[in-house]
Amino acid sequence: MMNSGSVKHLAGHPFDRRDFLKVLGWGGAAVALSGCGNGSVEDGKETVVSYVETNDYMIPSISVYFNSTCAQCDAGCSITGRIREGRVLKLEGNPNSAINRGKTCGLGQAGVQHHYNPDRVREPLLRNGDQGEAITWEKAYALIAEKLNGVSGEEIAFLTGGVSGHLKVLLGNYLDSFGSKNHFVYEAVGPAVLRAANKKSYGVEMPRFNINKAKVVLSFGADFLGAWISPVHFSQQYAQFRKGVDGQRGVLVQIESKMTLTGANADRWLVVRPGTEGILALGIINALGTATGDIAAAVKGYDKARVSKDTGVSAEQIDKIVALLKERTPSLVLAGSAAEGYAHGSQNAAAINLLNQVLGNVGKTVEAAAVVPFPQMAPATGNTFALKTLNDGLNAGKYKVLFSYAANPVFTAPGAMKFKDNLAKAGFKVAFTHYLDETAMQADLVLPLDSALEDWGTQVPEYMAEGAQINIQQPLMEKLHANTRGMGDILLALIKLRRADDYKKYDDYYAYLRAAVLQNKGALGGGVADDDTFWNETLSKGIIKLASAAHALSGKAGAAGLSLPAPSAIDAQYPLQLIPSVNASLRDGRNTNQPWLQESPDPLTTIVWDSWVEIHPRKAAELGIVEGDIVEVTGKNGSIKVQAYLFPGIHPDAISIPLGRGHEALGRYAKGYGVNPFQILDMVFDKETGELALHETRVKVSKTGSRVIVVKDEGPAGGSQMGKKIAARLPSDKVKLSEEVYYVG
């Protein structure tokens, strides 16, 4: 609750957009509604604080709206925040963005809980033994300068999540200032293998996928309605696809080993043996019979009988898919994260992409994406390969100073990588962070960041929907905590310590951003507008749309170098394949401390606030497991104990545990809820890209003897209730939980 002390004066630029943000508005002090007596309830007790100064459009009880960009994931949806009395209340999609057209996903909605989160770090903290001691920013900057003193560029490393826009430029310049090339970009669940495969198949890492133009979509584990690349965008395309092109309703066939949200929406869902997606793709090419030359030669061995035996997909199903693909063009084939996650992930993706080429989809439903004509602002992407390189360097004691921003490898790196131990070998670790997450807990200096709704920035989405666009991030309200700083402001302050002359003209990151945008006014579509007009319009739109050329697309990769391994034999000791699933709300777990995300039920299992392991009912019966059994999932790299959920949408030889939970830090809504499957992943890497093969972990499952009631939205009988009599209604005080009957498959 605000009080008068938080009301600030405007910075002295009348009617500037920023100024309004510097004024905190109307707020009553503590409210105690003392009952419902006659007449007024609290006369003379509450304080009513008026503005000191305000713009005319700020009217108490009337909302104003400002555009910004969602920072909950990297898809870059544009948002419109509703602000009243100086407080942001609700986020909606900005209708003018081609990416999300006025919509957001549930994860995006929870953005306000990131901003108002009670566990945000509020002061710079310096390690003192086990404690973090609050220090001033001046001291923090001085400390960094001191630690960098006499350290060479090679001894400094900067770890980040995906970054783009001016922040990336500034970061690059900062690293330059001490001659370091060690920028490691790490996204725990980014589509790194797919990027590399796309580059080979289409000539670009991230083409546009026109789901809306396809008459049939064949998706190999691409959860485009849930968590894949740009889910809000794809969901809207999907709606158009379902309405149909030329009156023909699109047909979705989803092929995967574990049902995703997209799989649950498919017309036909086919379970495939984990890792054999590529074989199935080649089998389909073979069965289509239209390929010629080297492609025909490459798929020759993949006859239906063999493919069906390898993949577990029946010859009849293959025939049906082939018939569908022949009957309906254009189609679209998607290689999703499920296909990528193997030691031969690149090959899987290449085989699937090849199917697009054979079907003639390249240039139709797979199109070149528009490029932002400022390559220095394009998103820096990366995955576990980068982390591994950093990890090796840390292990060898190469780094004296390590910065980390927007990445939490202590939580997301496979436990076997021993990242936490290696991190300890870095001399001085600085974490720029919103929360004390697992990585920040290891840092020597923790610098608290402004929330995404308080900070300035630009963002360039990796997946461009239509034209190229640069997204604007701007504060929707005054900062909640006086001692947090924007990442841009921190970088600017740090770079000023090294290149004062170049940067002294910028008071803050806002000034830098404004100057940088105005400098390129022409290229950014500003035309002849004067600076203030263009800048204000840009902020008001929240998006800079750019006229730009598209990448060239090539669709002639052919089958050269394609070779898929035979499906791996079942490991006697660890007979099950672990699929760590990426769920639409929690993704890699960076947002788990937003309670709405914990509270919103998983779309397929309806479970809340906890992890679970999905086991096929047949496998469960074999192992004597019923729903709610706490089972131990053991692999070569450790074990975790988790409640069992019997799920028919999974291959019987696989089990699945969602990612994102099992935090040991981060905050009160995350810590101690569920388990973290990252910790037990096997260190298997994609052979071509060196990225972690997320689905290659082999495990066994054993009962521990304890059992719990799974907390979920569906009834205790789950899906098995269908077609049966409705259970007798009992008053809740009569239900004996110990006698409840569970679903036993």
């Binding site: 007024s40 006369d43 000191v52 305000t54 009880s61 407080r87």
Partner: protein, 224 residues
């Protein structure tokens, strides 16, 4: 979040003067001693009588809505931003050194908000709209501003800091909403064109040709 409900001078209504249109209905209860709210000490003893009072009593006769500018546009009437006070007072030298004005400038110079105490408070489950009442009585029926504000706020132009002088209970609100009020021919109000009769039939037109109807009395009008 319904902070607006707790904001500032909250009430204003349909009351006393309505009786002139409804000769047959009993007049609303007169303000009694019991209705008088507690005297409230404010950070600055703001003299309403000086600003809004009649000229012959030394007042400036400033329209209530000049300062409480949000009232006609919003649920809440609002306390004006200090900037508004300063707008005039920076050029009124004669009172510049008086204790109250000195205090005002202290707040302004420090850019600190004045922690006014709320005088008219309603429970959070009541949604009262100043805008609606002002549009109806001031702009549609052309009643004098001070009279209209006074229905709920009493005779503020004779007060120093405001003091509640009406009960502001639900019964008290309803006592006015139950009266017959003149409405437009279509039965609408200027905002949202909401019909004043809820029983599906138009009330009879009386001898003078004026159509009258009661104020809104759906629960949901005030309890959203």
């Amino acid at each position: 979040m319904q902070r607006f409900l707790r904001l500032s001078v909250l009430l204003l209504g349909l009351f006393a003067a309505a009786s002139s249109y409804a000769a047959d209905a009993p007049p609303p209860a007169l303000t009694t001693e019991d209705d008088l709210g507690p005297a409230i000490e404010q950070p600055i003893e703001f003299p309403h009588f000086r600003h809004a009072g009649d000229a012959d009593k030394g007042g400036m006769q400033i329209n209530c809505m000049y300062c409480h500018t949000y009232a006609r546009r919003s649920l809440v009437a609002g306390i004006p931003p200090i900037q508004k006070c300063i707008g005039c007072h920076q050029s009124i030298e004669s009172v510049r050194e008086t204790p109250r004005i000195k205090k005002l400038f202290e707040y302004w110079d420090a850019k600190k908000a004045i922690p006014w105490k709320k005088v008219h408070d309603l429970p959070d489950y009541v949604r009262f709209s100043h805008e609606r009442h002002i549009k109806r009585f001031i702009f549609q029926l052309n009643r004098p501003v001070q009279e209209v504000c006074g229905y709920c706020h009493g005779n503020v132009k004779e007060m120093t800091v405001a003091r509640r002088s009406k009960l502001l209970s639900m019964g008290w609100c309803v006592s006015c909403h139950q009266q017959d009020h003149p409405v437009t021919d279509e039965g609408g109000t200027p905002i949202g064109n909401q019909a004043y009769w809820y029983s599906m039939h138009k009330p009879p037109v009386d001898a003078s040709g004026i159509i009258k109807a009661k104020g809104p009395n759906d629960c949901s009008v005030c309890h959203k």
